[in-house]
Amino acid sequence: MLEARDLAIGYGATEIGVGLSLSVNAGDILCLLGPNGCGKTTLFRTLLGLLPALSGEVLLGGTPIAAQRRAEIARQIAYVPQAHAPPFPFAALEVVLMGRTARLGAFGQPGQRDRDAAMRALQQLGIGDLAHRDYSRLSGGQRQLVLIARALAQDATLIVMDEPTASLDFGNQAQVLAQVAALVSGAAAEGRGVILSTHDPDQAFALDARVLLMKDGRPHADGTADDVLTATNLSHVYGLPVSVETTGSGRKVCLPSLGRQSAPTMTSEAFTMA
């Protein structure tokens, strides 16, 4: 449903990434991994058609995204930004209802059917009780779930999530991650695909995702989590020794070395990248 061919991305004359290709279909989870500043956000903005590609093209539903209107795009891709606080105290249900915008006319108002869809989306994520709470006063994890509910209400087949677990506590991370997995493989998956970025390679293993590992705006490796997230690749991309181990339950985890001697950890280069 989404295909990017040999993209060069960036702002105006500033090229941030090159040689990026990917495709996502129903049932896929694609996980973008890479150090801060490697171009993940810029790639997202390009994939969403918010930023024109410098070269190459993004095809959405077989048509170049640049030729599509915002409403057409929004009916196919939903974007879940990092949980934010809006300037006004909308109710959580209103925030979710905003996901219906692309299905309304220019002067349209959400009606009963839209309200039902929004309520269903909240209930699907188990947060129906938050519907009438002030969104700006919810916790970070609750807000993130509301934004995922909004993507569900948007009824798009592809959902793009920008670090959905960033700034969440341990429990909320697991909860959000479980919902992400359910979006694609759950009973109500309805042939969805998901692209998400994360800073935690363990999540790619947990989601059994395909992984695009980026470094300095270029694809470093691309494939299944098992193939891409190797000690060698991770050590190279993040610039410190990483070991990948299998737990007793059979899940893989990535462990960075914290040893002072062995690790040339935060070099000045790594800081500039951040």
Binding site: A74, P86, F90, A91, T101, Q109, R115, M119, A131
Partner: protein
């Protein structure tokens, strides 16, 4: 279905009854305002005069002086509150007032130039209207030429620049103006007043305000989505540039029309949307009618005070500042909830 229905009721019905209550209050307020003044009228005299019966002098006072003035106050208050609510949603900032893009500064320059050139009243009003529209036109034009990813911030900053330039030009005209004849008129205009308003003054502004309100009412859902920010609004399916332009054009038309009528009246467009948001929340579909009604009532009260508390007319801008500024501090002191 069950939950959805509850949601519909809780989001809909109280607002309807609130607008009903506010409308009744506003009508009562307007009636009382028509009674009050140097030539005081009893309720029965007022009703008779409004019906065109009874004392001829009372009828003249009511129809030639009080009704135009009350109507003007209602129109100006409603318009400024509507424009303020729109700008606040658009710029995602509850501290924004309708002047943000320089409409007041432009209208001020237009009016001052008109007074400086000793133009007739209608021409001064036209000049103020054109000045206000032109200032915002220049701001949007310059902002569209500046290549910056943050369109909203660019607009606001260019608005500050153009406002400052218009203010400088206004000051220059004040220095050059005749200090006995023109300067008092300029000062009075820049502080806002509805003294000496006539039906002929109101008639051109009235349709302009309505024309401006129509797109705001039609776009009420999209204005909510715009308040999430450009990037998110686009991702949710809105052509942000076009929609924002329409909202700015409508809100500016409204503000410039009433500023040409009443002069520069500050604080109303900043404070009233806050009160409305406290009552019905930020959803623009509910916010707009409530802000319009409260704004109309507020300015009617202020204008009635302006013409009755002293021997001379007190400029509106002074009263709205004296009332608005402390109220705003109180809002801020209530903390984060104050944004509500």
């Amino acid at each position: 279905m069950g939950r959805g229905t509850t949601a519909a009721v809780s989001l809909g019905r109280p607002v309807l009854s609130l607008t009903g209550v506010l409308t009744v209050c506003l009508a009562a307020l307007a009636f009382v305002a028509v009674m009050i003044g140097p030539f005081a009228l009893s309720p029965s005299q007022t009703v008779m005069a409004l019906l065109g019966q009874g004392d001829a002098q009372a009828a003249i006072v009511v129809w030639n002086i009080r009704v135009p003035r009350v109507a003007a106050a209602l129109l100006v208050g409603a318009a400024l509150a509507a424009a303020g609510a729109s700008y606040q949603a658009l710029f995602r900032n509850p501290l924004v007032s309708p002047d943000i893009l320089g409409v007041s500064a432009g209208a001020g320059l237009g009016a001052v130039a008109g007074i400086f050139l000793s133009l007739p009243v209608a021409a001064i009003q036209a000049s103020a209207f054109v000045g206000g529209m032109a200032a915002v036109g220049v701001v949007t034009l310059v902002a569209s030429m500046v290549r910056n990813t943050d369109r909203t911030l660019t607009l606001v900053l260019i608005g500050v620049v153009i406002g400052a330039l218009a203010g400088a030009a206004t000051s220059l005209l004040k220095v050059m103006a005749d200090p006995y004849d023109q300067l008092p008129a300029i000062t009075f205009w820049l502080l806002g007043s509805l003294a000496a308003i006539t039906t002929e003054d109101i008639l051109p502004a009235l349709p302009m305000v309505f024309i401006g309100l129509i797109p705001l009412a039609l776009l009420r859902w999209r204005i909510n989505v715009l308040s999430l920010g450009d990037e998110e609004a686009r991702a949710l399916g809105i052509e942000v540039g076009r929609t924002r332009f329409l909202v700015i054009a409508a809100a500016t038309l409204i503000t410039a029309s009433v500023t040409a009528l009443a002069g520069v009246v500050g604080w109303v467009g900043l404070v009233i949307p806050h009160i409305a948001r406290m009552l019905v929340g930020p959803g623009f579909g509910r916010l707009l009618p409530v802000a319009v009604l409260i704004g109309a009532g507020y300015l009617l009260i202020v204008d009635t005070l302006a013409r009755t508390i002293a021997q001379v007319e007190v400029p509106l801008g002074i009263l709205t500042a004296v009332i608005g500024a402390p109220f705003f501090v109180w809002l801020l002191a209530r903390g984060r909830r104050g944004w509500a």
